[in-house]
């Protein structure tokens, strides 16, 4: 073989190796998803060998660590639901309102200053929010409740719900802002030309057009709220409590996962494995929400032929 040929062979081999390395790297993301899915699924199945799946989904008593321990997750789902609703009740109006102001009313300079400020809210680590919720917000709520004759615990769902809502504001406002700006200006011009006020134009023309994107943003916010751990671990309660009262303490799926794993039980006990069962539920629900959210955004992009989202 001439040196030319052997060098060519060497080059081709190098090319193949590099290509292989690149593909291998890309496959890691698939492996990760599969890894998460299978590790959770595997251990969850181990759990369901020990405890009834049906009772897990529908049972209302969660009492680990005792003889005849029961693992009915409904109070945990309910607690998650209440706190999440509170969070969205804060995040959606404030996030959407902020997005509307920034995209429709604010001058470019104001926008340039305010958008980064909202981004800062997104960059604060959740453990910091959790500290703030537990040490500052929770006592405020206890005092406020007292002053109007009600009773709130220091682990009220309201405390963690409100702070979680604030944490989610940027998720909603950022995507809504992009979506609102993508609604073509010709629509607004048409509305103004017909003699509509700015407020009417936004409410009747712009927002309905932007609705798929706004719903998508809300679903993403919902997904984030469901998966949020630190704020609730630090500020919410530990005991599953089937209640609608936001002033009471209740616990969530994520808190229960943490508690089940840092306890003293053996790894193969139902107490520890229950974490994986809950993890499976969380995985499936957030996956579905994310898929719906992404497909809504995709449809919106197609409709308005937007590339900036």
């Amino acid at each position: 073989m001439s040196t030319f040929e052997s060098r060519k062979k060497q080059r081709e081999l190098n090319e193949k190796l590099i290509k292989f390395a690149l593909i291998a790297a890309a496959t890691i993301s698939i492996l990760t998803t599969l890894g998460i899915l299978f590790s959770i699924l595997f251990e969850a199945i181990e759990f369901f060998k020990l405890r009834s799946f049906w009772y897990f989904i529908t049972g209302t008593e969660w009492s680990p660590g005792v003889v005849g321990s029961k693992f009915g997750a409904v109070p945990i789902f309910a607690g998650t639901f209440v706190i999440t609703i509170i969070a969205l009740a804060v995040a959606i109006p404030v996030g959407l309102g902020s997005a509307i102001y920034m995209s429709e009313y604010a001058t470019p300079t104001v926008r340039d200053y305010l958008k980064p400020i909202l981004e800062v809210l997104a960059g604060i680590p959740t453990v910091v929010y959790g500290f703030f919720a537990a040490i500052t917000v929770a006592p405020m709520i206890v005092n406020a409740a007292e002053s109007i004759g009600l009773e709130a615990t220091f682990n009220s769902a309201l405390a963690s719900g409100i702070v979680m809502g604030i944490m989610i504001i940027p998720v909603i406002s950022s995507l809504s802002d992009d979506v609102i700006r993508s609604v073509p200006d010709s629509q607004r011009k048409a509305a103004f030309g017909l003699g509509m006020t700015h407020g009417e134009t936004i409410r009747n023309i712009v927002l309905p057009s932007a609705m798929p994107g706004i719903i998508s943003a809300s679903l993403l916010g919902l997904s984030k709220a469901l998966g949020e751990t630190m704020i609730v671990v630090m500020a919410a309660g530990l005991r599953p409590n089937l209640s609608w009262n936001p002033l009471e303490d209740m616990t969530t799926v994520t808190v229960t996962i943490v508690n089940s794993l840092v306890g003293d039980f053996e790894f193969s006990s139902p107490e520890t494995l229950s974490a994986f069962a809950l993890g499976l539920v969380l995985f499936v629900v957030t996956l579905v929400l994310n898929m719906i959210s992404l497909s809504l955004i995709r449809k919106f992009k197609e409709k308005y032929k937007v590339n900036t989202l």
Binding site: T107, P184, S186, Q187, K189, A190, A191, F192, G193, L194, G195, M196, T197, E200, N204, I205, P208, S209
Partner: protein, 257 residues
């Protein structure tokens, strides 16, 4: 201009406009006549669209715009402090170059503004208004069986007629048209030009057009703009056959454009 006994609908008095530091319209003065079609022509960037948008105060939406001068309609200067720009736009409708129906049904496209303005209430009155407007816009026969389908499902020409219908539904007195047919095919263009000739009986129409032949076909009066100044304004025939200004002649004959 020859003496005439046309009624003046819009009296523009020494209108100046600045985009920031850019002096875009220089001392425009003209009397635009009622129930006539007036075409605004001129090369790109001459200010004709900007001028058109002054008539319904659409330029007010742009922050850096400053306006000086008067536009008097029905004896009132629309730029007076006590005039609400929203109500100006109710009286003076606008049709845009790109058809822009709302993502609503055909019915709702036409009914939206009248309901909001309180011109009609929901129900029979509203249905009648929608039908009348679509008839006047020459679209009724094509859509009467599918009023609930989205406005965006129509063809380009139909969409533009829908936009005209919704503009008419608000019962304006003046209709401004900003190059209404430049995005349409020749057949749709023809339909809309015929429509304009019908509409002028009930409305005053001011239209910006890039297409001189269109101006010659439909307009009673034509105004030629160049670099932000109104160079010549006269009966269409005069402008095209016997213009007084050399610049006008150069533009008409295609020496620049």
């Amino acid at each position: 201009m020859k003496k005439n006994d046309n009624k003046v609908k819009i009296d523009v008095k020494d209108l100046n406009l600045w985009y920031g530091d850019n002096h875009a319209l220089h001392g425009i003065s003209a009397e635009l006549y009622e129930n006539k079609i007036t075409a605004l022509i001129g090369p790109s960037g001459c200010g004709k669209s900007t001028f058109l948008r002054c008539i319904n105060r659409m330029n007010d939406l742009i922050n850096i715009v400053k306006i000086d001068g008067q536009i008097v309609i029905d004896k009132k200067n629309i730029y007076d402090k006590d005039v609400d720009e929203v109500s100006v736009r109710k009286k003076i409708g606008m049709v845009f170059q790109q058809p822009n129906p709302f993502p609503k049904s055909i019915y709702d496209n036409v009914a939206y503004a009248p309901l909001k303005h309180g011109i009609v209430k929901k129900g029979k009155d509203c249905d009648e208004l929608v039908e009348t407007s679509l008839i006047k816009a020459g679209l009724w026969n094509e859509v009467k069986d599918k009023l609930n389908t989205p406005g965006t499902s129509l063809s380009g020409g139909q969409q533009q007629r829908l936009c005209i219908a919704r503009t008419i539904a608000v019962k304006p007195e003046v209709i401004l048209m900003d190059e209404p047919t430049s995005a349409l095919d020749p057949i749709s263009t023809e339909k809309i030009e015929a429509l304009m000739l019908e509409l002028k009986n009930d409305y005053t129409i001011i239209t910006v057009t890039h297409n001189m032949q269109q101006a010659a076909r439909v307009a009673d009066y034509t105004a030629f703009f160049h670099l932000g100044k109104l160079i010549e304004y006269d009966e269409t025939e005069t402008i095209f056959v016997n213009p007084n200004n050399k610049k006008t002649e150069d533009y008409i004959t295609g020496r620049f454009g």
